[in-house]
């Protein structure tokens, strides 16, 4: 099997996998970064969202060979002590129910706030409609995004 070196959470990591292996499974099975979740495997649910070169991507549909150039950030790499403004807002509002989708929700939110500092509800709808939450935490997510924006402002 070929071997590849990628940069995950600012660390170089080398793995031996088939060239078509999606980043999701590299993270989960080979690098032990299980915060990124499998929900559909087809780019529909957004639960596998991570950042690549500063943009949110669906790690379940991107093969390892397409993410070798830049830094990949996963939920584990967001902060040292759960003190990223988005994580803080999530805890303040007690957002998760089962919690399974929340890594994807948080990574999509961090991406949104990096592009729009103070998103409107319409911005939130556009950015977040790709991340499915089966438990129905959307109203808390919306409030938490506004809250994170104001924490970030300070």
């Amino acid at each position: 099997m070929p071997s590849y070196t990628l940069t995950v959470n600012a660390e170089k990591r080398t793995v031996s996998v088939d060239s078509d292996t999606p980043l999701l499974w590299v993270l989960r099975d080979h690098l032990g970064l299980t915060g990124t979740k499998y929900g559909c495997g087809r780019g529909i649910c957004g639960n596998c969202t991570v950042h690549y070169q500063g943009n949110a991507i669906r790690s379940c549909v991107l093969p390892i060979t397409s993410v070798l150039e830049g830094n990949i950030v996963t939920i584990e790499g967001l902060s040292e002590n759960e003190n990223h403004p988005v994580q803080q807002a999530w805890m303040e509002l007690d957002v998760p129910q089962c919690g399974y989708c929340q890594s994807g929700q948080i990574m999509a939110t961090v991406d949104l706030l990096s592009k729009i500092k103070n998103p409107t509800d319409a911005d939130i709808n556009t950015a977040m409609q790709g991340v499915l939450c089966r438990c129905g935490t959307y109203s808390r997510i919306r409030k938490a995004i506004h809250r994170a924006a104001s924490i970030q402002d300070k």
């Binding site: 499998y38 089962c98 977040m128 991340v131 499915l132 089966r134 438990c135």
Partner: protein, 726 residues
Amino acid sequence: MKSTWDRRTFIKLTASASGALVAGVCLQSCTSGTVPATAHEFSPLIKIDTKGWVTLIAKNPEIGQGIKTSLPMILAEELGADWDKVKVIQGDFDKAYEEQWAGGSYAIILNWDMMRTAAAKVRHVLLQAASKKMNIRVSELTTSKGKVLHSESGESLPFEKLLLEASKLPLPETVEFKPTDSFEIIGKNTPQVDLDQLVSGGTKFSIDIKLPGMLYATVLKNPVFDGGAGDYDDTRTRSVNGVVDVIELNNSDYGGRLIAPNSPNFVNGIAVLAKSTWAAFKGAQVLDVVWDNADARKENTAEIFERFQLQLNDTTIERKDGDLSRAKRNADSNFEAMYQVPFLAHIPMEPMNCTVDFRDDLCEVWAPTQNPKALQEGLIKLFGLQPEQIKIHLPRIGGAFGRRYYVDYAMDAAILSKKVQKPVKLIWTREEDIRHDWYRPASIQKMAASLDKEGRVTGWQHVLANASRKTCLGREGRPAGTEIDKYEFPAGFVPDLQFEYGHVLSDVPLGQWRSVGHSAVAFAVHSFLDELAILSKMDPMDYFLEFLGPARMVPVVDDYAFDAKRLISVVEQVRRNSNWDVPLPKGQGRGFAASKHSGSFVAEVVTVSVDANENITILRVDAVVDCGIVINPTGAKAQVEGGILEGLSAALYGEITVKNGVAEQSNFHDYKWIRMDEAPEIHVEFITNNLPPRGLGEPPLPPAAPALTNAIFAATGKRIRKLPIL
């Protein structure tokens, strides 16, 4: 190697080694031979250590309903612990914890007294120990924030100072509970215990478990419901890098379709085992297989509904009050309507998976299950194990909604691990999850009412025909279950009333789905009441209140009466909260429904706008809930928000259709659910009282669908009698 697991072994050992009355339990620092009594286990659920930390066991499966926080809150409250000095640990499946399952919104109902009793016993010995030390009568002492208090003198002693004394005292047989007006923890917004882990990817769900030497597996199942085994060629599969093994799973080799009551066996399939999930998925994708479906019914949805329709005329009577034919004869008018609901999938975000290490005669399981007892029973039946040879861990679960009441996926994993004598993590793809669910039963319901001159209901007939979840695994010969029971609303409210059930057999696998039969029944009942109101030219809420009659206890069956007053009060409150009486602009409408489920009363108003192209926007939902004492308001509110969104999602989109015995949906592109851009604002209010707490996972769901369709009628004049809407 240890031949059995016994949680108590460790405890007994340390107790006898110490030779003292104190059963010293080592938490972390124990090395064999030395016995530092760092903590005392007062009960299987409660430990207190010498630093004053209280460790509480969360015994039930956490599926997102917040039970890992709310049950320990009850313990902490009754104990008088300081919540900031409480550690909560998820319990494994263990008979010491008694009932451990998630379903029917029963956890709080079943555990309210049990939790309080367990903690009150410990409080009792702490108080006695303090009484002796402080020389003050027990009756003058209370516990609060981890201390025993004498409020008159202001004197106090922290729990840790009482540990040695208290641990020598026997727990009392009977206890008195704390008065509800002294609650310090119950009723306060308490963020859930695992928040920091949940927001940083640290939580280990079952799907995240990794064991040394573990193989990853997936399974390709016969897509046809109740289809046979497969004839396969695995050459291509075995040539995939990383694939280790291909193993047939035929339920005829493992106890047939039903292993134990409530434990359906797996669907026939072929498993691929590999060194990574991706290799297993790839291997399964290229497997050449021809399935034997000669014996399957190969049903189609349209034909299933036709059979339901026919069965409406051939029913058994489930309840009969008064004389329906008399009501019909004497009525000023009779009105009838038919309602139809589809099969629904559960689609929890964490797909079906299970990790099992089954070597020699020991079976260790990490299972996302709502029902560990069924899993244990299944393993016992399937492999002839003793309970002591089975250890079931209960990691946090990524949603369940009734799907994980069944343990088929765990059986798959156990068989595979035993076969290869290695730990195996089995993950179903989303496609397998949707195609091999235990679906919410579809049904057709006929509603008939007899009305007097004023439009008042004098006779009520509710006929439901479907394939029942209770008989789905049997064909001819198994007794018919019913999907409408004698407790259904409005039993007791109408003098001449009849409930009937028409039973149809089908191969479609059926099961519990959040709120179970109520999700279907409430849609028919509360749509029909709205129709009757419109027919009588009355405001639907006024009509409903008149239908309920005066605030009183309404006898339903011998030992069960319906408290009409509590239902009336949630309706009146939601009327105010939703501005029900303030007219809306054209194209907008409000709909309403209110029901009782698992002891809780919920009234909901949905406000919608519908544009010229029939695009529906849900603008807002108001919910008022009376579930008795609210343990944790933030968690309770989450359950209401979630239940409503689930009801609305299903009403708008949810539908499994069947073609030639195969579910036509397979992933989130064709099994749609509400997303962020469609999610309405939801306002929730709880009625405060001191009544015993009741269930909350399910009760908010049933009113959502009829409230929505009633709102669409109010906005457009178009009546929706068949779900889904879109």
